[in-house]
Structures are given as C-alpha cells and as structure tokens.
C-alpha cells in the first residue's frame, strides 16, 4: 500500500503543518488520491485547537506541479470535464472553507493547478528565489483554458493587465515580482524560513496582515487593456486566437465584477470553457509536446538528483560572456547554490567552475565541473576536448526578458550544454541547477558548431535566400508568423546579433548558388523598423522545414543529437515552433516532406539538404511511431 500523500503535524503553537509528498515522484501532483486525502484531512481540522494551517511540500523542487496530466487526456467530451474534475474541485473548496487561516508556503515550483490550489488559501507566501516560481501552464504549454478558478480570481488579485501577463502570456513570477504583482502576500528569506513563517503567522493572528484587497479597475482601463491584449493576440498563429480570446473574455468578465467575489456560475462558465478547449486538436497536440519535452529531458538524465550545496566560481575579467552569465545568475538566488567571483586561481583552466561545497554529502557530491561559456556570435570551430561548453544561441535574450515577453508563449531561454568528447555522461546536477535558474536545457555532443546555432542559422539562411529570390522582408515575417513561430526567431535574432556577427556563420546553411556577402539582405531582415505587410509563402515555409530536417538528420547521423525530442525542444524554445501544431519532428513525416519537396524553391537551400530530404522520403520512416 502506498504511503499517504499528506502528513500533518500540529505544533506547540497550534499551527497545523500539512505536508504534501507524492510517493515515487520528483514533483507533487494533485491527483484524485491527493484530493480524497485532502478532503478527509480538512474535515478533521479543529478550529478549537488549530490557529492556522500551513500547506507545505516535502519535495525541495516542487510545491505542486499540476494535476495528473493524464486527467486532461481523459476528457473525451467537453461535458465530461464536470465529472472528471469534481473531486479536485471539492478538495480545493474544502481548503477555501477552512475555519482557520490557511497559508500556502511555496518553496518549490508552483505550476498550473498548483497555483489554483494556492488561490484557495487565504495567504500565499514564498521563498525569495526562482526555486519558488509560479507559472500558469494551461494556456502557454497546453493551449487550454484553466479549470480551477484562476480566470475568475486573478484579475481581482493582480489587476487585469498583470493577471493576463501571468495567465495568458505565461510570465513566470518569483520573488519580489510575484509580491509586487499581488500573487503572493509575503516573501520569506531563503536562510530562515521557519522563523519568518512564525512571525508571519503572528502577524496574521493580530490582523496585521490582511489578504490583498480586490483590485477594482475602471471600465475605461479594462477596455484599454482588453484592446491592447487583442492586438497582441492578433500576432499569434490564427488557430490560437479563439482560445486566447476565450481566456481574455473570461478574465475581462471577472475584472468587470470589481470587488464582488466570483459566483458558482462564474466558475461553471470557466469550467465549461476548459472542457471545450481541452478536447480541441491543438490542446491534444500541446499535451503531446509535454511528453516529448519530458522525454528530451530524460534522454540524458533519467532521474534528477537531489541538489547538493554547490558553488559557482568565476575568474572575472577573463571572458566577458562568462562574467555576464555569472552576474545574471547571481541575481537569482537558489537554495544551496553560492556564487563567488574572483575566487579562482589565475591558472584555473577556465573562468567558470561549478563545485560541490564542503557541506555536500560525501557519498552523493557531484564532481566539480569546469564550464566554458560561449556567448556572442555563433562559434564556428569548437575544440574537440574534455570541457563542458555552454551556449546561449540568443545571447541577447535574458531570463528576465523571457519572463516579461509580450506576446509570450511560455518559452524559456535555451541553453545548450555540449558534453565533452570521450562519451562522458550528462551531469544531472548541472541540468538541475540550470533548469532551476530558468533555462530550457539541452545536452548535445555537437562537434564543430553548436546544434542550437545550426537551427537558428538554418532558419535565417533560408529566409535570406528567399529575399534574394524575390520575397520581401514583409513576406518573410508573414511566413514565420503563418508557421506559428512565436516569438519570431527573426525578431529574437535582431535583439541578439548584428549582421557582422552572423556573416561567417551563415555560409554553410546558404544555398550552393549564393554568391557574395549576406550583409544587405541580413540588414533588411533584421531591420527593426516594421516591415511592410507581406504574404506568407508556401515555398519558404517548405524550405525552412526542409533545412531544419537536414540539420536534424545530419546531427543524428553524426551522433551529435541523442534523440529527436531534443530537436523538438530546440525548435520550440529557440524558434518558437508552436506546440499546438504538434512538434517539429512529428510534423516532418515522410508524406509531408514529400509534399514540401514538391513545393520548395530549390534556390532557397543547399542541394545536399534537398538530397537528405529525398532520402528521408525514400526511407519512409517517421521520427516517431
């Protein structure tokens, strides 16, 4: 029999600590069993002996990471969502009705239904760290509207604009920003959670800390925000408009309600929308992508290790990109991770080192790692050596920028870790740390050039070739938008590079017939003045896909790419490839590639890439079954 998911402890001060620990899982999942246990637990809360109730997690990395994803897949008709979610809703309601103040103490990731669980608590407090990141997965990752109350609660808590940023645009919130946005009520320091929590509960008991007053916005402000949001929705793929607009309408309705709390009808309307959106094809495709992402993560690191005390040390002034990387991460404090600049000897092999500290468990301490940081223009000749090499293919895209992107689709800055030659395994602790920092991490065994750079350059090169073949910059941007790539890789490249940065790196990706420098065409493409409206081109769409296919096939052939799911993650996080259209590799079936070969203008990509695509069609074997 599995151990219980919840355990309780009533302390001497009358505070009931309720700890969640999903057995055998790295994260807490609010399953049906968790709901049953919680309902029973809440029914036993005695207001005579309990002065407050704190929900916490036994898992260092996770508060609650959502409901059982398989629950979403089981919604076969819109109407079935009412029955499928009834138990979870009863559990959440039991928290809402608790006769004593309830506090969600968030020290790990809090996603989707986990956020909605916390909204049923009277107070939300979190550690001041990206470890305790709040993120609404429903729209950004799964393309379905939420089911458990967030559209009706968040506008009053955060204001409409910030609520939309959080729910619609997938802005990840942690620390001061989560506090300032009204999502949480207090921040606790990483190094003294228990004492700070005690002090907070005292404040609550003395009425010195009240729940946020509902934000009431004027009709004019609501109209203005709604109009601006619709303009942003227009920049998304056409088939996303309905779901985003549906979610916007639900939240505008809630904002117009002002200080009045949501009614059962309001929650029912939200649930009905969730049921309808869950069964749509794009939502199913998006859930499929989640599996692919998880597979990509587990290809190299089957199980995430518990974090050990780590130190990132830097020899400042040697490598400007390492300095910038260090500074960015130092501003985002993580549990057990310390940062020390100017702490390396002058003969240290590289300027960045990740090392377990003396507090680390001897039996589980990971080995120290020297890291080479590659920023700036795409490197064209990586050494073949025993060094972990990190690459941000979009150097100008900071973690913070991603957390504020408009429109945002929940993407994170991609970080490629090129594993050393010699077959060394991917270090789990390196992945865990970088993932906790906020990056989308992939491992590769890339040789001369980074995989992620190749994906971006393949997209840019094809776009450039199309300009020479007669398309306008407006046509190119329209094609990228029609393909559903949000954020646009062209706009992302503009923020990270000058034409000079890319000139040399683009050459292998350009068609054989290309002559002369790329400068002017590249300047036109990366011009930050809005391009005149153009029309999407099926030939360019086909060429970009075929160039990416060739990139994947070549990398697989050379053993640089361990699994096609890794390329799907690159496409999603770096190029904005839409989760609602299935993944890139799912899309590239032999039948579709054959059609693309019929459509493509061969002037847009290298001859060898066309040959690779033809061989792929002849082989007639999809990436996945």
């Amino acid at each position: 029999m599995s151990p219980p998911i919840f355990s309780t402890h009533l302390d001497a001060g009358g505070v009931l600590h309720v700890q969640m620990d999903t057995p055998g899982s790295e994260v807490n999942i609010f399953s049906a069993r968790a709901a049953e246990e919680l309902i029973e637990l809440m029914a036993s809360v005695d207001a005579q002996t309990t002065r407050a109730l704190v929900f916490k997690s036994a898992k260092a990395r996770s508060f609650i990471n959502g409901a059982q994803l398989m629950l979403a897949s089981a919604v076969q008709s819109p109407e079935s969502i009412f029955e499928m979610t009834a138990l979870l809703r009863r559990a959440y309601a039991s928290v809402k009705r608790c006769p004593v103040p309830t506090i969600a103490l968030v020290t790990g990731s809090c996603y989707g239904c986990g956020v909605e669980f916390s909204l049923n608590c009277d107070f939300r407090v979190a550690t001041d760290s990206p470890d305790a990141t709040f993120y609404m997965t429903e729209i950004a990752d799964y393309l379905n509207t939420p089911a458990f109350g967030s559209t009706q609660r968040l506008p009053a808590m955060m204001g409409l604009e910030r609520g939309l940023g959080f729910l619609l645009w997938g802005h990840r919130l942690w620390g001061k920003r989560a506090l300032d946005h009204g999502l949480i009520d207090a921040l606790l320091p990483l190094n003294d959670i228990d004492a700070s929590l005690d002090a907070l509960i005292d404040q609550i008991q003395r009425d010195h800390l009240q729940p946020h007053a509902p934000k009431v916005e004027s009709a004019d402000d609501i109209t203005r925000i709604a109009r601006a949001t619709r303009a942003l929705i227009d920049r998304l793929p056409d088939d996303y408009h309905r779901i985003y607009t549906r979610c916007l309408d639900l939240m505008v309705f809630a904002a117009k309600r002002g200080a009045h709390p949501p009614t059962e009808d309001d929650f029912r309307r939200e649930l009905a929308a969730a049921g309808e959106t869950l069964v749509e094809q794009q939502a199913q495709a998006a859930r499929s992508f989640l599996y692919l992402r998880q597979v990509a993560e587990r290809v190299h690191v089957r199980r995430l290790p518990a974090r050990q005390p780590l130190e990132l040390t830097l020899r400042r002034g040697v490598d400007v990109h390492a300095d910038a990387f260090f500074d960015e991460l130092e501003a985002r404090p993580l549990r057990l991770v310390h940062y020390r600049a100017d702490a390396l000897a002058s003969d240290a092999p590289l300027s960045l080192h990740l090392t377990p500290t003396r507090d680390a468990d001897e039996t589980e301490a990971p080995p120290p790692i020297a890291l080479a940081m590659h920023g700036g223009a795409p490197p064209t000749a990586l050494p073949d050596d025993a060094v972990f090499r990190l690459r941000r293919p979009l150097p100008g895209l900071t973690l913070e920028a991603c957390e504020r992107a408009l429109p945002g689709t929940g993407t994170r800055p991609l970080l490629e870790v090129r594993l050393p030659s010699g077959g060394e395994r991917a270090p789990g602790h390196l992945f865990e740390w970088l993932d906790a920092c906020g990056f989308a991490v992939i491992f590769s065994r890339a040789r001369a050039t980074f995989l992620s750079d190749r994906f971006l350059l393949a997209t840019l090169a094809t776009s450039l070739a199309s300009l020479r073949a007669g398309l306008s910059p407006g046509d190119v941007h329209a094609t990228i938008r029609h393909m559903g790539m949000v954020p646009s890789p062209l706009l992302s490249a503009r923020q990270s590079f000058t034409p000079d940065d890319l000139e040399g790196a683009l050459a292998p990706h350009l068609p054989d017939t290309w002559e002369g420098p790329v400068g002017q065409h590249l300047s036109d493409l990366l011009d930050d003045r809005p391009a005149q409206a153009g029309a999407p081109s099926a030939r360019l769409d086909a060429a970009i896909h075929l160039n990416l296919l060739a990139t994947i096939l070549t990398a697989r052939e050379r053993g640089e790419l361990a699994h096609p799911t890794v390329s799907d993650v690159i496409a999603r996080e770096l190029l904005g490839y839409p989760v609602g259209r299935t993944s890139l590799c799912e899309h590239l079936t032999p039948a579709r590639v054959e059609t693309m070969l019929e459509q493509v203008d061969p002037r847009l990509l290298p001859t060898a890439h066309i040959a690779l695509a033809q061989a792929f069609v002849e082989h007639a074997r999809a990436f996945y079954v």
């Binding site: 055998g24 399953s31 059982q68 897949s73 499929s288 989640l290 599996y291």
Partner: protein, 86 residues
C-alpha cells in the same frame, strides 16, 4: 505469453519509481496498481525504444483511454503490438 509483455514488464521494472507487485499482470493499471505518473511514463518510453526500434510516443496510447485507470499493462502491449506490426 506474448513477446511484448516480457518487454513491457522489463521496461516497467526499469522505469518504476514506486514499489511494484512481485508479479505484474496484464490487468494491472499503471496509475492505480503500478504507481506511474506522466514522468515515469516518459522513462518507460525510453526503456521501450529498444524493442520498437525507434522512438515511440506513449502519449498516443494514453489519449486512447477514456479513463486514465484504463491504462493497463495489457492495453500497452496491445498498442505496441499494433505499432510494431504497422
């Protein structure tokens, strides 16, 4: 006993993060009897790839069930048999 069952059983034992029954049967539910969740299903995916010969997306099998508790060892064997023979 079909070949796919033997492979699935080995993959289950390699992927599981909760204690398993001593004997795994085809009517065992992944959720209720074997304690699997979406994360362990992805690890199962990787364990099964050797048998199928290429990456297999188990989410398609998951979505075929009207209730997650219907995802049994037997239904996975059926799915794999179908995929391999296609």
């Amino acid at each position: 006993m079909r070949a796919s069952f033997s492979t699935v059983e080995k993959a289950i034992r390699a992927a599981a993060s909760n204690p398993l029954p001593e004997t795994i049967r085809e009517d065992h539910s992944f959720l209720l009897d074997l304690g699997f969740d979406s994360l362990t299903i992805t690890v199962l995916t990787l364990e099964l790839e050797g048998y199928v010969g290429q990456p297999v997306l188990l989410n398609r099998w998951v979505e075929s069930a009207s209730n997650p508790t219907d995802l049994t060892v037997g239904s996975l064997c059926d799915y794999l048999d179908q995929v391999v023979s296609a």
